[in-house]
Amino acid sequence: MSLSFVAPPRRLLTITIDGRTVKVPEGATLLEACRQQGLDTPTLCYLENLAPVNVCRVCVVEVEGARVLVPSCSRKAEEGMVVHTDSERVRASRRSVLELLASSVDLSLAGPEVKRWMNRYRAEPERFGPAAPAAEDDRRDRARPGEHHAPEGQVAATVAQPVKLDNETYIRDYSRCILCYKCVEACGSEAQNTFAIAVAGRGFEARISTEFAVGLPDSACVYCGNCIGVCPTGALMFKSEYDLRQKGRWDEARQTVTTTICPYCGVGCNLELHVQDNEIVKVTSPLDHDITRGHLCVKGRFGYQFVQSRNGGDEGR
């Protein structure tokens, strides 16, 4: 018995975006409406496979009649809405977000689109002055609420700190963390439901932390790597990628990405094998596939080593 599933028909709403009258299906967000119109709308904390958390504010648009700018990633289109995506207010707001993040966080691995947006909105993170020196060891992890002291304004405050290397699976480089919450969501109720990490602290001291800031091996982490899968800035990175980058050998131009099926249980998760020099260097999963929606377990994400250790020929059990 075959049956095809078609989503129930949705009413079309008429809204105006930047002077153009457009029709969007009921329930669509303003971000979806903008993308439908081909408008390149910056996003940092938004990802198709996670519910929007509205924290980065880089996707804001102006809705006529609304007092404040609205995050387009979560605001749903309403009949008759008049939306501006490139007004002075929107441009200034997006510029501020990008400048504040870029002055305090290392965005060098955040993808080419971030540089494109910074150019478009003329973000000048350097105007806050030279970067303050990096924090030592785990100073930021030990910060207590209310401990923050007003800066003198001579240097730009940053979240720079040493890379956390506490296991052989993945590394945490919180100098690159923009606090987008994606890792927290993926570890939490959006996918893995392990709840090993959360945002701790307030204001500029806010950071991603395990419970009581313990190292990963002492935390609830089950090493599924779903946090790495959603991280937009390289703050969470597979150890395999980190090591190759340290050696100067990471080269995405020489990598192929092949989609196949996980060799473990019978769920049939889609794996994207990133291969460089005939070696798997990382594993991801497509966000738009119904089985995984981008999320994997520890075996699918990390359990590929056995195919690469066969040249000795004697490892089997």
Binding site: E168, N193, G268, I280, I291, V298, Q305, V307, D314
Partner: protein
């Protein structure tokens, strides 16, 4: 079930169900990404039941945990069935129109009262009643199981007992309601699809009764197909025992480590006249073979398809060059055929697949381009316009009797406990299972490092640890009626008194399958990995030293 060898539902249905029952399945650890779908359902308000002797990490998410005795599944299922009948929760319309043998089933479960079941299963009568009523009243219910149901000597009866419940309540053949056997390996379902069953041709076409299908294959292949069922694995071992089976060609299996009663398995395989093993590793089984054919890893060094637990056929693709002289399975098999006198040419995986499509109606519409474009297709898919089948057996709900087709029969099954009985000599029940980070005999999983990896241990309840005066890390001798192994012990609060747990993941450290019983289900051929009677003896320091100094088995 009902003639199709696959689960009836899509994973997505677990997200949209009101009730999910995990029976003999710790999906949280063994099928983690399926469990993500279950949790989406839970977050939307679905009620979750876990039926498992252990209070597993899956059970810890459940609203209600039914901690039954190992092997008492049928008693529990029959009592649930009886309670559904007595509470007036039978879907009368569905039972009348779409099923057969209801009366015989009702009569058979009549003695299975809640009180009787409590005595048989140790599950409180009230919890059984609650599950029965929730299942009977749910609008959409998913009944999922894994090897906790099928690794028993009466596996098929266990499955039938669960199917009976879905028939009683009409929880099959509708979006959201279904029967979900989760497959343990990435292509268990695909192996069945492709006819790797002793009585089936590809596409679940019966080799004995489906004359038209047999004729079709004979014409396509130009050979006669023996019109009789072959042997499944357990029968093959018996045939080896009788000296009837003298040659074996094993592809991608490591039976010396994976089969129950491994001492017997080794003896039988070593006694063969000729053994050929095709694998990506020199496994323990390959080591005793006359010929080893190095293969490429099917999931990343070759092109092809696999089928998932939701009947979704998906493409595997070549991402890596295989090492050394390893060759593609298709190439090896065709070369073997050529040397045996049949020239099959050098077909690509797509050509092999297209031949399958021409012979298996349920796969006919699944061209490689469509599998690519649609991200896999769920069978049956009968032509290139067919989007595939998110769920099976919708026909049972058709108004028109013609379209409804043959009725789905109830099969009354009697409760029967494990064969390996507990007694004063072997008083503890050992069950086996998987841990999140590891897989089967560890051939694949032992080669990547993860901080959550723990070595093998005999897990015991806090009560048994205390009774036996053991502390974590103490070494013990675990003995069954077949053999003994030495292992460290670990306290496991998911276990109750008298229940122990081990995995098969670390055969180099602990050969758990020396203990297990190879008594197998006559209908499916599955061995009873889940229920072994054991004795646990604390290893005194002196004995341990002797063992270290080279005492042979059984203490090795």
């Amino acid at each position: 079930m009902f003639g199709a060898g696959g689960g009836t539902s899509s994973y997505r249905e677990a997200e949209e169900a009101d009730l999910v029952i995990l029976w003999g399945s710790s999906a949280r650890e063994a099928h983690p990404i399926f469990f993500h779908h279950v949790l989406k359902g839970v977050h939307r308000g679905a009620k979750l039941y876990a039926v498992d002797p252990r209070r597993t990490s899956s059970a810890q998410w459940a609203d209600v945990w039914l901690g039954l005795e190992v092997g008492s599944d049928i008693a529990l299922a029959n009592a649930i069935g009886r309670e559904i009948i007595h509470a007036g929760l039978v879907n009368q319309e569905f039972v009348r129109r779409a099923t057969a043998n209801f009366d015989a089933y009702a009569a058979a479960v009549e003695p299975c009262t809640l009180e009787w079941a409590e005595a048989q299963t140790s599950v409180p009568a009230e919890a059984i009643r609650e599950l029965a009523h929730d299942y009977g009243r749910a609008d959409r219910a998913q009944l999922c199981w894994t090897l906790g149901i099928t690794e028993h000597h009466n596996a098929t009866d266990n499955v039938l007992a669960l199917i009976n419940l879905a028939l009683l309540t009409g929880h099959v053949g509708r979006w959201g309601s279904g029967l979900v056997p989760l497959r343990g390996q990435n292509n268990v379902q695909g192996g069945g699809d492709m006819g790797a069953l002793p009585n089936k041709l590809p596409g679940f076409q019966d080799v004995v009764t489906n004359l038209e299908a047999r004729d079709r294959f004979e014409k396509a292949w130009g050979v006669g197909i023996p019109p009789r069922a072959g042997w499944h694995l357990s029968l093959m071992f018996e045939a080896m025992e009788r000296g009837e089976l003298t040659t074996a060609y094993i592809l991608g299996e490591n039976p010396i480590r994976s089969e129950a009663d491994s001492d017997r398995t080794s003896r039988l395989l070593e006694g063969l006249e000729h053994l050929v093993v095709q694998d990506i590793f020199l496994t323990d089984t390959a080591r005793i073979a006359e010929v080893v054919l190095p293969a490429s890893a099917s999931w990343c060094e070759a092109e092809g398809t696999v089928t998932s637990s939701e009947r979704r056929v998906q493409r595997v693709r070549r991402a890596l060059q295989p090492p050394g002289q390893a060759r593609d399975d298709i190439e090896i098999i065709c070369e073997l055929a050529r040397r045996l006198g049949s020239d099959w040419g050098h077909p690509s995986s797509e050509q092999v697949w297209d031949e399958l499509r021409s012979l298996s109606p349920m796969h006919k519409g699944m061209s490689y381009p469509r599998l690519e474009a649609l991200g896999g297709i769920q069978w049956p898919c009968r032509d290139e316009q067919d989007p595939g089948s998110p769920f099976l057996h919708g026909r049972l709900w058709e108004e028109d009797p013609e379209r409804r087709g043959p009725a789905a029969p109830f099969f009354a099954v009697a409760a029967e406990g494990p064969l390996d009985l507990l007694d004063s000599e072997f008083p503890i029940r050992l069950t086996t299972g998987r841990r999140l980070d590891s897989f089967n005999t560890g051939v694949q999983s032992s080669q990547y490092a993860t901080p959550i990896r723990r070595r093998e241990s005999l897990n015991l309840s806090p009560e048994d640890m205390s009774d036996l005066e053991l502390t974590d890390g103490d070494r013990v001798i675990v003995s069954s009626r077949r053999g003994s192994v030495e292992a460290p012990v670990l306290t496991d609060s998911s276990l109750h008194r008298g229940l122990a747990f081990m995995t098969l993941h670390f055969p180099d450290e602990v050969r758990t399958n020396r203990l297990t019983l190879d008594a197998w289900d006559p209908k499916s051929g599955t061995a009873e990995f889940k229920a072994t009677a054991i004795r646990v003896t604390k290893l005194r320091a002196a004995v341990r030293e002797a063992a270290v100094q080279g005492a042979p088995d059984p203490v090795a």
